[in-house]
């Protein structure tokens, strides 16, 4: 089998204010072979989309090489086309014009241009919508236009950047099956597909191989080959095994990191991901339901709560940080404190939360202490932001402060005035 695409040791950084560089992709390797669908799976911010843009030649890496059919990629490549998450259709062009755009750039004769565009529209199931404007179409139909536009130029590689995530569940499923079917029949004039997603089931459903990305910086953490015949059945035990396995792989690293944090004792320097207290309460309540009795499989509870992986993980992590739950393998389990929290009324919950903050979140305890000590019982935001920025990047510091503020507000530990950018102990008047 020949390889369509080789990505070797690719590194990508973004400049940040203050002259620092943010490392988004580090030492990434990837091969796409003829006839393959490869999935890139990871939480948002793991650089999957950045990698896709590098492959499309839309931006350049700081290190490493990318080659398409043996030639290095140094700009937009003919033969690689992309489907976008937000559809990216031109609102002033009809469906037909949108689909024709890529062909016009190829300088084809008018007749061939039209024939090919109509054929692609036909193939993707857009017949009858040629003269409609994108705003007249539903989300699913719009994304079909996106597919038709990408397919019409007969690319060797099709890149898909979370193409189904802006669609509702039913439409997304419908589009996925159509696509897999066309691919299976060999009707698509395409040799290989790279699919970026954060939906584990979607990856297992569609891909031959799945690369799991870790974040900060983005790296390929592991590769899982999906050895199931198409079409795949979501309810088959083999399918569920794959989903579970990926869940465990994806949680393992984070659980490990949390364990380290908990053992060494958390420090001010620990970045926090913003999770609202009501999300925490929601998950706690879901866990005490009779069905789970305090312990649940992560994929199950995610599915039931209609959460994606990257939405569930931060909540689980925050619960672990506050000692309300333990995450182990693919499971999440309420602690004694977590169960008490579940049974408590609102005031008791605030009480528990407040104590957990003081004990487990050094930043919250620190802010409270500073406010207690000052005569005015107030302190400007910059006082703490500067302190955090000694340890972490600017936006991580801002997010950390934001989550502490929202937790402290719930716990009534201290208050914060966003207009004056001032922390204080006063209750707002």
């Amino acid at each position: 089998m020949t390889s369509l695409l080789e990505v070797q040791n690719v590194k990508r950084t973004f400049p940040r204010s203050g002259g620092e560089e943010l490392l988004v992709l580090d030492d990434v390797n990837l091969t796409l072979r003829d006839g393959e669908i490869v999935g890139l799976l990871g939480r948002s911010g793991s650089g999957k989309s950045t990698l896709l843009r590098l492959i499309a030649g839309l931006s350049r890496p700081q290190g490493g090489t990318l080659t398409y059919l043996g030639t290095p990629i140094e700009g937009p490549v003919q033969g690689v086309s992309m489907v976008f998450q937000g559809f990216a259709l031109f609102p002033w062009m009809t469906v037909l014009e949108n689909v024709q755009l890529g062909l016009e750039a190829l300088n084809l004769p008018a007749r061939e241009l039209r024939e090919r565009a109509l054929a692609a529209i036909d193939l993707i199931g857009l017949d009858g919508y040629e003269s409609a404007y994108p705003r007249e179409l539903s989300g699913g139909m719009r994304q079909r236009v996106g597919f038709a536009r990408a397919v019409v130029v007969h690319p060797n590689i099709l890149l898909m950047d979370e193409p189904f995530s802006a669609l509702d569940v039913l439409t997304a499923e419908n589009l996925r099956t159509d696509l897999v079917e066309l691919w299976g029949n060999g009707k698509l004039p395409i040799k290989g597909i790279i699919l970026v997603t954060h939906n584990i089931e979607e990856a297992v459903l569609m891909c031959d191989r799945v690369l799991l990305f870790s974040s900060n910086p983005g790296r390929v953490a592991s590769e899982i080959k999906i050895d199931l015949p198409q079409p795949r059945d979501r309810t088959s035990p083999a399918f569920e095994d794959y989903v579970d396995r990926i869940y465990v792989e994806m949680t393992a690293k984070r659980v490990e990191r949390m364990r380290q944090v908990l053992q060494q004792g958390a420090s001010l320097a620990m970045p926090l991901i913003h999770v609202s207290p009501s999300q925490i309460s929601g998950l706690v309540e879901a866990l005490v339901a009779a069905k789970y009795d305090g312990k649940a499989d992560l994929p199950d509870i995610a599915y039931e709560q209609e959460l994606e992986v990257d939405e569930l993980f931060p909540v689980a992590e925050a619960m672990q940080l506050l000692r309300l739950a333990d995450v182990e393998g693919g499971d999440i389990k309420l602690t004694h404190m977590g169960k008490r929290f579940a049974d408590a009324d609102l005031n008791e919950r605030k009480e528990i939360f407040s104590r957990a903050l003081m004990a487990q979140v050094p930043l919250a305890a620190h802010i409270r202490k500073v406010l207690d000590e000052r005569a005015s019982h107030s302190a400007p935001r910059t006082r703490f932001l500067d302190e955090l920025e000694d340890h972490m990047a600017e936006d991580a510091a801002e997010e950390t402060l934001k989550s502490v503020v929202s937790w402290a507000r719930f716990a009534e530990l201290f208050s914060y005035d966003d207009d004056a950018e001032l922390f204080s102990l006063e209750n707002p008047t």
């Binding site: 499309a56 839309l58 992309m82 976008f84 990216a88 031109f90 755009l101 890529g102 750039a105």
Partner: protein, 574 residues
Amino acid sequence: MKILPPVSIEGRRLLPSRWDLLAAVLVLGFIVAFADVSRFLVHPLSSITGHDLRLNPADLPGYALRTALRMLIAMGVSLGFTFIYATWAAKNARAGSLLVPLLDILQSVPILSFLSVTVVWFLSLSPGRVFGAELACVFSIFCGQAWNMAFSFYQSLRTVPPELEEAGRMFGLGAWARFWRIEAPFATPPLIWNMMMSMSGGWFFVTISEAISVGKTNIALPGIGSWIAVAIAQKNLPAIFLAIFAMLVVILIYDQLMFRPLIAWADRFRVGNEQSEEQPQSWALNIYRRSRLLDVMTTPFDAMMRWSYYWHPPHFGVRAAGREVDSRVTDFLWYAVLALLGGYAAFRIYAFAHVNLSWSDLVTAVELGFLTLLRVMVLIAIASAIWTPIGVYVGLRPRLTQIVQPVAQFLAAFPANILFPLAVSLIVIFNLNPDIWLSPLMVLGTQWYILFNVIAGASAMPPELRDVADNFNVRGWLWWKRVALPCVFPYYVTGAITASGGAWNASIVAEVASWGTKTLHAHGLGAYIADAATTGDFRHIVLGTAVMSFFVVVVNRILWRPLYWYAERKFRLT
């Protein structure tokens, strides 16, 4: 940067409605009435002037301060007008049907005509003193700001999200309280943007209206504008540069101490939960917020407003439909009053025209109007051809945009008449045809609206669409035709409408330019009005004004309005 629809695009119809005609008659009648009054006032007051103005650099800060104060007062008056007029138009359907077309007509009347027609009357209010002249000056700035501000506020009031209104009702807020707690805050951010843009335009008018002559009445109010006028008369180039510098300082101070804080403050009133990509910041606002003094000063006002919310004015905000009992009677009275007013105005116009004007006068004015129209159109086309590609280039580069945007905004605020001396010298030296070479002066100040609107349009282009173009190798002319130009088109149209309106206004100043004793004339309606003002010939001021307003209204209707709505329909993203 937000782009606000100009008042001339309200409604989509091409042909004037009865209300448009009534509005036109009323405005023209108003101008005629003033002109009539002024003709009898002009002679006895011919010697009114400000005190002697000498070009002493030490006096310049003082002059700059007075000019800035005039701007501030005019802004305050415009704000008051906006709140009353726009609220009335939005709350009362009966009034609204006249008040909105009235705004459209008012904004098409060249501001300097307002000035030359009213200045004598204002002077007569306080014979022998400068106060009347100050009023006239403030009034002309007011005319440059109020119409668009009122329109913006009116539009916002009409688009308050219904669920906010309903929430207000559910909590038992009266109409008065709802206005201050829901509607006014909702309308604030666009109003502030509008104030800022209007202020830019205001600088142009303040510099001109400080030093104006109508017939034998010469006014020179102490201020930067008069300083410039004297400097031009004396051919004093260093003094002109000093004035430019003073202007720059004043504009910067206004920006930093007033508009930045206002914009940062108003950010809280934006409806919608998503944070703006970049929260506007202002160091001045941070100082104001932390100042105790300001707290102490505003507290009683706060308390008063809070207390006033218990007040339920009987008719405020209650729609006419809710008061159907007396509605038929009121309707009758209202229409009767309007008919009488309109009839009276028409009569005044007729009487005025019959006595003073002949058909040949009208033909001359219309011919000259076409000349100026030609100039405006050609210049807007040239400015568009130059600034659209540059705007796209800049707008796609965020870092460049951050540099160019404020500069363009400053240049728009910059009274371009300061450059007239240079232009006149060049024309004299190279012996050029003033009919052609004076014309660019008309767009000196207003072309920037095209530039920064196009920049705004290009920087609003979704990154994904740019990626699509790259991904499919859409380049060169295909890229401009399919991607860039459609994307900036709605923004461009808005900029071009503003630029063309400004160019008509500027024609009155630009078609006659002088430097020292040398005065150049171009043929056009602007020069016609300017000459009539200089000689105090009210007949021709009125005629010229009416013809120019007519041209502006017609061009808006048959060109800009359809173009605007076409752009809105077809090219607006999302």
